[in-house]
């Protein structure tokens, strides 16, 4: 099981967190087209490479955070709280 670093609790078992999937921007509900909204609802990039993801520390501090994960190597970069920009690699935790 992957160790995912919560910005507050430190490395946590992925199973102790909730995975909320690929990070995506919510379109403006007043002006968006059905296509834009459904892209937001259902379509994901699913790359083999770096992916910005949403995680929720559901068994710990209950913070939502974002983290960049390499979907092929499993490598993780430093987590960030919402509203902040993802930063540099935080060093090998493994």
């Amino acid at each position: 099981m992957l160790l995912v670093p919560c910005p507050h609790c430190g490395p946590m078992n992925a199973g102790d967190l909730t995975y909320n999937g690929e990070s995506h921007r919510r379109p403006d509900p007043k002006t968006c087209t059905p296509e834009e909204w459904r892209t937001y609802l259902y379509l994901r990039e699913n790359p083999s490479g770096w992916l910005l993801e949403n995680w929720y520390c559901s068994s710990g501090c209950r913070k939502h955070f974002k983290i960049e994960r390499h979907t092929f190597t499993g490598e993780l970069r430093a987590p960030v709280l919402p509203g902040r920009k993802p930063g540099a690699t935080q060093g090998d935790m493994k």
Binding site: M1, L2, L3, P5, P7, H8, C9, G10, P11, N13, T18, N20, R26, P29, K30, C32, P34, W37, Y40, L41, N54, Y56, S58, C61, R62, K63, H64, G74, L81, P82, G83, Q90, G91, D92, M93, K94
Partner: protein, 949 residues
Amino acid sequence: MSQRLPAPLGDVIDRSSAISFTWNGTKLQGFEGDTIASALLANGEHILGRSMKYHRPRSVLTADFWDPNTTVQVDDEPNVRASHRKLADGMAVSAQNVWPSLKFDVKAANGLVGRFLTAGFYYKTFMKPAKLWPAYEHVLAKFAPGGAVDLNTPHGRYDKRYAHPDVVVAGGGPSGMAAALAAAAAGSSVILVEHEHQLGGYLLWGSDDDRTAATGLAAACAAAGVEILTNSTVAGRYEDNWISISQRSHPGVIERLIKARAKTLVVAAGTIERPYVFQGNDLPGVMTSGAAQRLIRMYGVKPGTRAVVFTANESGDSAVEALQSAGISIARVVDARSGEGITSASGSKSRVKRVTLSDGTTVECDLLVTAVGWTTPTSLLNMAGDRPVYDADAARFFPAGPPDNVLATGGMVGDGSRDELIAHGQATGELAAGRAAVVRQRIQAATARAAAVDGPELDYPADERTPLDRVRHPELYRSTTHGIVDYSEDVSSKDLFSAAGEGFDSVELIKRFTTATMGPSQGKLETVNTVAVLAEARNETIAEVGTTVWRPPYAPISLGALAGRINEPTRISVLQPWHEANGATPILAGQWVRPEHYGDPAAEVRNTRTNVGVIDVTPLGKLDLQGPDVPKLLSLLYTNKWMALPIGGVRYGLMCAEDGVVLDDGVTARLGEEHYLMTTTSSGAAKIWNWIEMWLQTEHPDWQVHVTPVTTGLTSINIAGPNSRELLGRLTDDIDLDPDAFPYMNVRRGAIAGVENCIAWRIGFTGELSYEIHVPSGHAVHVWEQLLEQGADLGVKAFGLEAQRIMRLEKGHFIVGQDTDGLSKAPVTGLNPLLKLDKDDWAGMPEVAWTMESGDHPVIVACQPDNGSVIPEEAAQILRAGTTEIVGRITSSRMSPTLNRSICLAQVTKEFADPGTSLEVLLISGERITATVQEHHAHFDPEGARLRG
């Protein structure tokens, strides 16, 4: 015990402690420390089972965990490894995969027609026609291997444990023990896991010095505080050293699964001796050199009387010494290092009788010992991403280089004397501890809430171990004849040749096609021989063919251990003991144990409609919301408007997910200027808390709202019925219950039955005049008992969940998740006035708007069967009359004690939603009945006169 050797042979058995057991009904004796197989061999019982496909008699081949054909039935437990399981007093052991008996097995006829049972036989023969498969399966199942499962066996106890060691060492041989010891000495917490019953590895069947060294190292590990798990297997290694350990030796449970997060994993799995492929290699009496030494030196069992030893290495030479010490005559030593070889063995059905050598001579014997080389069990390294590389000079695979947090040592990485192996293990243990310390420091540094790291940043230690040598070894896989490659699956080298001839060129595919390496020994004995035979058949090198990838588990784990203990926590309200003491029938609703009824739900309904009833509704999710931006939050998550809710007001709200599907519903009250209490459905409590947190943290981190779940902090009681105002009035002077002062959909706070800080609101799920009170849980039993005591003359009675469900259905209130499902967008509920499309934003708004615009959605309607005594089942289909076209379904149905007839809610397409429409309902019995759509959702009191009174 005719084949038992005298002491000092038999290190691990205790001759002072005899054990009685039965074998196929015959009473036998063994000693404490015996395995089932060693005890049977000691008694001269040397056929332990029959092979899977051809039902050939089989005996001990390796005399350890991996022994492929010695699985037996022990009491009610099938598939027990006789060469591993320790004998226990009173065991009833029997052979399995034999019928009608071990000695006379009719299925051995398979052996005669063996040429028809080649690779892929079952696939090719029984594939077509598909419709006959059930018939084929019925017959084939009788030929399937395995013991008998007794369905009446009581539940066994299994367990799980989580561990957080610095270092896990897999393998308790000399290198593993030395690594564990060195890591512990360097300050690491260490778990040392050994597959067999005691530490020592190959030292246990080695020289006297070897055995002394093993004892000394084991004692030193224990003294150093290493946690030693014997008869346990490191079954898997997953990301970031998440390690599963199957512990079969934990007292009190059959098996325990340990999930360990290790900072460093040391793999010291040693090597596994390979069998040799030649004609007759599965005859009883043919065994590996390790097996012969284990039987003689560990168990004091004489495996034969006249032996031929085919040796290519020290282990074979050592086996010769062991055989001589046991008084077994050595008929011939065939030394592969000087170019000698064997081509076949033959004998009776039950025993090898002669061996034919490469030069054509035959030698009489009843024991053939082979020592042809080693398989490196790189499973755990494979799981860490390593792909082993074949070294033709050493005739075995070696690790290519696992990741930094996994270190291999011992026989897996090279050869050496005992002292050299110990030295390598020690260096590995020190390195493992050094790396674990760095990981520990980094985790601490990355954990904001942990203490600051004390001291300087540690350097990540480089691997400066002196590598072990690799001793040259002849490549010996198959002789010039064909023999068994996979003993547990009965796959021969001929099968592999024919599969290669059919065009199977990948080892991964040939494995699946022939099932070679897929038996209970998990490829430990068979993989490299399979690769070698395939290389030979395809005229390639072993390196070109490559190897299969070993996946978890390293050794089989019982399903019970994976399941662990039954550990489903349930929740109760503080009133539950009262309910149970007063005749309530408990029901599990979601996580909650609740009273379903107290004997007669229909009577509870009638009493509530006539007098007054009280129900415990604590599981209702309750969230305390505080802050200036709560109205914005409510507006965002509910479909309706919340900006102008006055203090003291209560409002119903519907929540949607972003796809417009109904997510939850409930009422929310404004208690103060910036203070609200939200209720959710009982099953939605945790989900909605998360939902709110997600919106607040990710989309609107600037909003000032604090959310506190208070579901169990407040005990909730609904007082419903015409006498409810009178009853509550007797318990409070603090709250003015006058209908003008406290109208419907309002909330008040005050003392009830002397308990301060209670919340009371007027709502009407049951359709009656009702007050829902939320009482600090510490005082809830007092308030509940006061309600029943003070209301005795008003006819107050407790009612349960079932009565409440009936009353809500009489009132036509839908339940999210029952009357709606994962496709029900908000307009399905018919609550269109609550879907405020003129708001700026709310969760799911665009989808709801588009759905309303298209009008293309089913709707919830109330309907009544025309025959009021018939209750259609919930989920019964509604069909277009006379056809099989599904146009809806019954979502809720009950007999109404108030109306004395059956009533329903249903989801139907719009075409069938108009009042008065006749619906055709298909019952589970196949009968079709008619039902009529009602004008209102409420079957009873549609104007709501009762609840507003």
